[in-house]
Each structure stands twice: as C-alpha cells, then as structure tokens.
Symmetry: C2
Subunit: 216 residues, 2 copies
Amino acid sequence: MGLTLYTYWRSSASFRVRIALNLKGLAYESVPKHLLRDGGEQRKSDYLALNPQGLVPGLEHDGVFVGQSLAICEYLEEIQPEPRLLPGAAADRARIRAMALAVACDIHPLNNLRVLFYLRREFGQDEEGVNRWARHWIATGFEALEQLVARHSADGRFCYGSQPTLADVFLLPQVFNARRVHTDLAPFPRIVGVAEHLLTLPAFAAARPEMQPDAE
Amino acid sequence: MGLTLYTYWRSSASFRVRIALNLKGLAYESVPKHLLRDGGEQRKSDYLALNPQGLVPGLEHDGVFVGQSLAICEYLEEIQPEPRLLPGAAADRARIRAMALAVACDIHPLNNLRVLFYLRREFGQDEEGVNRWARHWIATGFEALEQLVARHSADGRFCYGSQPTLADVFLLPQVFNARRVHTDLAPFPRIVGVAEHLLTLPAFAAARPEMQPDAE
C-alpha cells in the first residue's frame, strides 16, 4: 500500500495514528521528526512543503499527503474499512466521533507542547503553573468522558460498545499525557479501566511511545 | 425530520453547525443556551443530562443527542448526503477534513471563552494579554491555511475546489473570531477573499451571529 508516517515517539496525536494503523493491520514506514532537536525537524522546509502546518503526524499514501490525526484516521477508515473504527449506525458513529473530539478539541490542544512553551515564554509560567493548566483541562474533559464511558461502554473494556473504536484510539494517548503531568486519575475509574484493558491489546501496546524506534 | 439545535449566537462552533444545516437545506428548531447569563445556561442540569460536556452546539434528532460540531456535521452528511460537505475521492475528503481540523483543533480551542477566562483568572492576564494570545494562535493557523487555500482552491471562492465544503463551514466562523480580537488579516488575502465570497451565499449569511434570534 506504500504508507509513510511522519511521527514523533512522544507526540500523542502520532500515537493515535499508530494505533489506528495497527488496528487496521496496515504496515507503514516510520519517518521520525524530532519536535525539539534543532528548532524542530517538523519546521524544516522539506516537511513544510508537504505539510504547511509543520505538525506531526502526517501520512503519505501513493503521493497523497494527509495531515491532522483525525483526518488520517477517517482516511484509513475509507481506504481500509475493516475492522471498523466507526461501527454501528449513524447515531453510533456520531457519538463515537464526539468522544474522540472531546479529546481532540477540548483537551489535547491545550496541553500541546507549543502551547506550554507559550505559557512559559509569554506569561512567565513555571513548570508547576503549566502543569496545573494542563491538569485543569484534562480533568474538565475527563469528567465528561467518564460519564460518556459509563453511558456507552458495554462492559468497561472499551469507550463505546464492546469493541475498539475511534474513541479508544483517542483516549489512550490522552491518558498517557495525563500521567505525564501528574493528573489525579482517581475520579476517573472508568477511563482508567478502559486504558488498562486497551494496553492488553497488541495494536494499542505496540503504539506506545516507548516502543517506537525514535524513543529516547 | 425533527432537528433541534442547542446554540448560542456568538458561539463559533454553533455558527459552523448552522451553516451546515443551511447548506443541507435542513429546517431546525433553535434552543438558545446563553453561555454567560446565570453562570452559563449550558451548565444547568437539564442540558448536562443531554451533554455531559456542557458545551454548545448540540443536536437532537429523533431522540439521539450529538455533541461536538464536527461530529454533528459528519452526522448530517450521513443522514442527508446531498449537497455534500465532503465531495470527491477519499484523498479530497481527507484534505478537506484536515483544513477543517486545522481550525477545530489548532486555532479555536485556544481562543474559546472558557480558556480566555482561565488566562485572566489564573495567570492574571488583562484583555490585551488575552487578545494577543488569541491572535498568536489565529495567525499561526491562518499562515498554514492561507497556503492550503492557495494549493486547493479552484478560483479563490472556496477553500477547496469550486464548491462549499466542510473546510468553508469551519473557516468563516474563525474569520469572525479573528476580527473580534483585532487580528491583522492583511497577510491572509486568500482567506479573506474566501470569507467575503462565502458571505454572498445565503446558507452562510443566514448563519451569522447577528442574524440569530438570541443575538444581543
């Protein structure tokens, strides 16, 4: 199929796409872009020509470049429908997408590396201020997601129903991020339970940051 | 069809959904949720029971509730495929989604009302600090989008190709937000040109904040 993934081991958006590729059983070539080294390899002109946003992940497939982790996952769903990341009827898919977006739009953009850098540089925040900020948005988002998992999970193993979906693809990397900034996860037992179960599945476990060739 | 939209006139995510409903020619009932009055009507228990995130927009359709503007747009695309918000082949749809997500994930979450409140309250920022922050992320995102419009627009009227797509649905409300915080749009002539053209179309013009029944 000729899939190339531009990735960084610690990027949680890249982590999502690695999970999706693994769930679909799609082999791919990894091209690491180190986000910190040398001003950020993702900001070099060769990569900017592909992706003017200068962000990872990016996927190349038969000469087509796709940026944005959710757009990549939807693209994979179209070119390789099975196993489905968005199973069920339109209403199921809508609810699954909404859970993924609660992470993609309402949590993750706020604890992105470039945002934390801005808070330090422009607003004079130290590591504790920045981590408190990150934990605030994670906890706010997880409070809602905890209820959505209670409502939609069949048995506590997955976010929605009884199989892995796009919601799980987005949840697990966010749990990793939450732990990095020392978020108290005690109020979110269902999220923690789903994350623990997901890590028993090879597609999720193999996508972890520390398993990547560019891990430090 | 029985569509109810929970909305707020100034919410740019609600603005997106109003455009999408108008483009599809779908009639809907508006239920305004005032985001500021009385601690935020979207945080009252009746709405939280529908949407644990306590955010607008939300769409109800035949007993199904869907949150998150992008999940709502994708749902509308499934229940009412024409006219298509995601036309073309899988590669086109991926690029259109990526442009919408560049707004939905990389710009808008950072200049959301609740985020600006946090910056004032916790980091002691005044209006100028908060607007500078908002303008920074808008300009960063628009720099990339300006190039993507150059690459993908057929003739400068739309973000992608020669018809309205999901990318336009997300771009126009962000241009409104950009103006509210006095962003210099001179470096983004293509974005401004697309926005100007979109406002000549009834589906976009009727969705403007000031045209809503709850506008102040």
